[in-house]
Every structure is written in structure tokens, then in C-alpha cells.
């Protein structure tokens, strides 16, 4: 976003040179408004100085934002990596079935509330839309649950009839399991689903975040699939303790699985957001530095040209007086 501002500023310099009328009033020779001998327009040094000051301020702000994002990233990264252990046993038990064909899918899109974080929100929305296309058809239904302001704004434009829930302000307090589980509870109570597909940015490293889909099935579908066979078919070989039936246990497991997967997804998305913000702010500081260099060159050229012009006038005036003597 900052980059676009810089580019617009750069382009604005050229029209300001070309658009000044040629029949300009002969203003007194101050350092502000100048015309060269051949009618060449030059930018006033005052304007360039102002622009340099604002670019320098922007550079300081983006550098500060990068450092803030770096420190927040350090804090969340450890927690995200530790929380991966929460859903791994579920995948070992129930398997991961992203290609399962169900009637009602709910796509949970995770995004950030704040901006200036690069392209992560748009990639998540792209994947969500692709899932929608994949899973819609006769008798099949896809609904969206949107977490975060940014995805809400993007999805509102063309998919607003398919949104069933939207959640904001999740990042106001530091993320914890209680918060995410209350959210998961709300989603479970309000939306009917056969399969939940959670779309988030998985954090691989500070510069690499890949949009990922995690699938959680509802207990009825798990029962149906376990009859078909495969990984889920081995569920019957497990012994069930206590007085609960298999259907009971599956329901508890499915809910808990959803809560754990959401927790991990929210943490990973937060990490990716910080990482993306770091790299976005880094590149905008670098661009601001380059722009500052270019402006400094322009400023010096203008300054030297004005000094040269003054010297020429003084000398020619003096030599005219000499000749007149």
C-alpha cells in the first residue's frame, strides 16, 4: 500500500513540470521559482525538500512497524509450533480426507483484522473461492464462516449470499485456547455441516507461508466412512473404555478435533501475518530509501543549477558594467 503511494508521488512530479504555462510572470529571482535560460522548467527546492521529509518519516514508520512485527512473531512462533502437537494424534487416528465428497461443506476462512501485511489475505480468499467451486453442485451446499475483517471485506463483494457467520476482533487479547474453543463452539452450534474445511496460512518460515486446508468431518460422516473401510475402518479395532458408545466417542472426538485444529490454524495464521507484515514493511522501507536517494540527487541538481544561474547573472551584470565604463 505504501508502495502505491510512492509511485503516485513520483508520477506527480512530471506533470507538475510540464503543466506550468510558458508565459510565466517574471518573478524576482528567489530560490523558489526559477526559469532556466531556455525556458526549461525546474522543480523548486522547497517542494523537493518537503517530499524528502515526508519520505523519510514514512521510512522511519515502516522500519518501526517491521521491528514490532518481528518481536510479535518471536512470541507467537513458539506457541504455534507447540500447538501442532494438538491435532497430530487426530490425523493419526482419523486420517486426513481433503477430497471427501459431502453434501454440506462449511469453509472457515481465517484472515487478519489489520492491513499492511502483504498478500496473505487475498491468497486465503482465493483458496476459499476455489473450494467453493470444487464443492458446489447439485445437492451440494457450501457456506462460509469468515474470521477477520480483511476477508470479510473481500468476500462481501461477490460471495455475500453464502456467508453464514463472521467473526472479528479475535486478536484483541493474546490468543489462547479458551477463546478459540468458545469460537469453535459458536460455529458448531450455528452451522450445520458435514465437513468443515478450515483455510489458513501455514507458517513454514519467515518468508514462506502457504495457504493450507484442514478438513474436519462431522461424526455422522465418520461413521459412514468407517463402514466403507480404509483408515477410518480401523476404528473398530480400538477398545472403548467407559460406558460410552462409539457414536458418542466420535462426536466428542469430532468436536475436540475441530477445536484443536482451529487453535493451531489461528496461531499459524497469526504467525504468517506477522511474517508477511515484516517483509512488506521491509520492502517498503527499502523503496523509501531508494526514493530518498533519487530525491536527494534531484535536490542537489536543482540547488546547483540555481547557484550557477545566480553566478552567471552576477558575472554578466558585472562585465556589462565594465564594458560600459
Amino acid at each position: 500500500m505504501a508502495m502505491a503511494v510512492f509511485r503516485r508521488e513520483g508520477r506527480r512530479l512530471l506533470p507538475s513540470i510540464a503543466a506550468r504555462p510558458i508565459a510565466a510572470i517574471r518573478s524576482p529571482l528567489s530560490s523558489d521559482q526559477e526559469e532556466g535560460l531556455l525556458g526549461v522548467r525546474s522543480i523548486s527546492t522547497q517542494v523537493v525538500r518537503n517530499r524528502m521529509k515526508s519520505v523519510k518519516n514514512i521510512q522511519k514508520i515502516t522500519k518501526a512497524m517491521k521491528m514490532v512485527a518481528a518481536s510479535k512473531l518471536r512470541a507467537v512462533q513458539g506457541r504455534a509450533e507447540n500447538s501442532r502437537g494438538l491435532w497430530q494424534p487426530f490425523t493419526a487416528l482419523l486420517g486426513d480426507n481433503p477430497s471427501i465428497d459431502v453434501k454440506k461443506s462449511v469453509v472457515v476462512t481465517l484472515s487478519s483484522d489489520k492491513g499492511l501485511c502483504g498478500g496473505i489475505n487475498s491468497t486465503v480468499v482465493k483458496v476459499s473461492r476455489a473450494l467453493y467451486k470444487l464443492n458446489s453442485g447439485p445437492e451440494k451446499d457450501v457456506k462460509f464462516v469468515i474470521v477477520g475483517e480483511k476477508a470479510k471485506a473481500i468476500m462481501f463483494r461477490d460471495s455475500k449470499n453464502d456467508i453464514s457467520l463472521s467473526v472479528t476482533e479475535l486478536n484483541k487479547n493474546p490468543l489462547n485456547y479458551a477463546q478459540v474453543s468458545v469460537l469453535a463452539d459458536d460455529i458448531l452450534k450455528n452451522v450445520e455441516f458435514d465437513a468443515l474445511r478450515i483455510v489458513y496460512n501455514k507458517f513454514h518460515s519467515v518468508v514462506a507461508f502457504l495457504p493450507t486446508v484442514a478438513t474436519v468431518l462431522s461424526p455422522e460422516i465418520i461413521e459412514k466412512e468407517s463402514e466403507v473401510g480404509g483408515k477410518l475402518g480401523e476404528l473398530d479395532s480400538y477398545e472403548i473404555e467407559g460406558g460410552e458408545t462409539k457414536g458418542e466417542i466420535l462426536q466428542n472426538l469430532a468436536e475436540f478435533q475441530f477445536s484443536c485444529v482451529m487453535f493451531n490454524a489461528v496461531l499459524e495464521n497469526a504467525c504468517s501475518e506477522m511474517g508477511a507484515r515484516m517483509s512488506a514493511m521491509d520492502s517498503s522501507s527499502r523503496n523509501a530509501g531508494e526514493m530518498l536517494d533519487r530525491l536527494t540527487l534531484t535536490y542537489n541538481r536543482t540547488r546547483q543549477a540555481s547557484i550557477t544561474t545566480e553566478l552567471i547573472e552576477i558575472i554578466s551584470g558585472a562585465s556589462a558594467l565594465e564594458a560600459a565604463k
Binding site: N161, S164, Y177, A178, Q179, V182, N190, T245
Partner: protein
């Protein structure tokens, strides 16, 4: 398709497993001594705002705040 075993009391009361385990976790956290208790209860703070959508329009958002384990 009635199950033979009785449904656990919390399931009959309309709670999901998630809310049940949250309430149990809250009870465990309350058993701690100070200062660990304050730290642990700090980890339970909930705050987000959720709004249902009907027909492409969001309804009034509900703010869920500081209600751990519900």
C-alpha cells in the same frame, strides 16, 4: 437409533464436549494458588465479536467477552 448407554448429563443439557472441557479446565485453574492462579486465569480471557448473516446482510454483532468456559 437410540443408543443403549445413557447420554452423559452435559450432552443432555445441550452442551458440547468443548464447553464441558472448558468448564472443567476452569475448575482446575481455580484450584491453583496465587500467583499462579492469576496467571492461569489470564490465559482464559475471551474476546471476539461474532455476527450471523442472513441473506447477504450481517445482523447485529454479538460481543463475547470474558466469558471463559461458556
Amino acid at each position: 437409533m437410540a443408543s443403549n448407554a445413557a447420554v452423559p448429563f452435559w450432552r443432555a443439557a445441550g452442551m458440547t464436549y468443548i464447553s464441558y472441557s472448558n468448564i472443567c479446565a476452569n475448575l482446575v485453574r481455580n484450584c491453583l494458588k496465587e500467583p499462579f492462579k492469576a496467571e492461569a486465569l489470564n490465559r482464559e480471557k475471551v474476546h471476539f465479536s461474532i455476527s450471523k448473516w442472513a441473506g447477504g446482510k450481517p445482523e447485529k454483532p454479538i460481543l463475547r467477552s470474558d466469558t471463559p468456559g461458556v
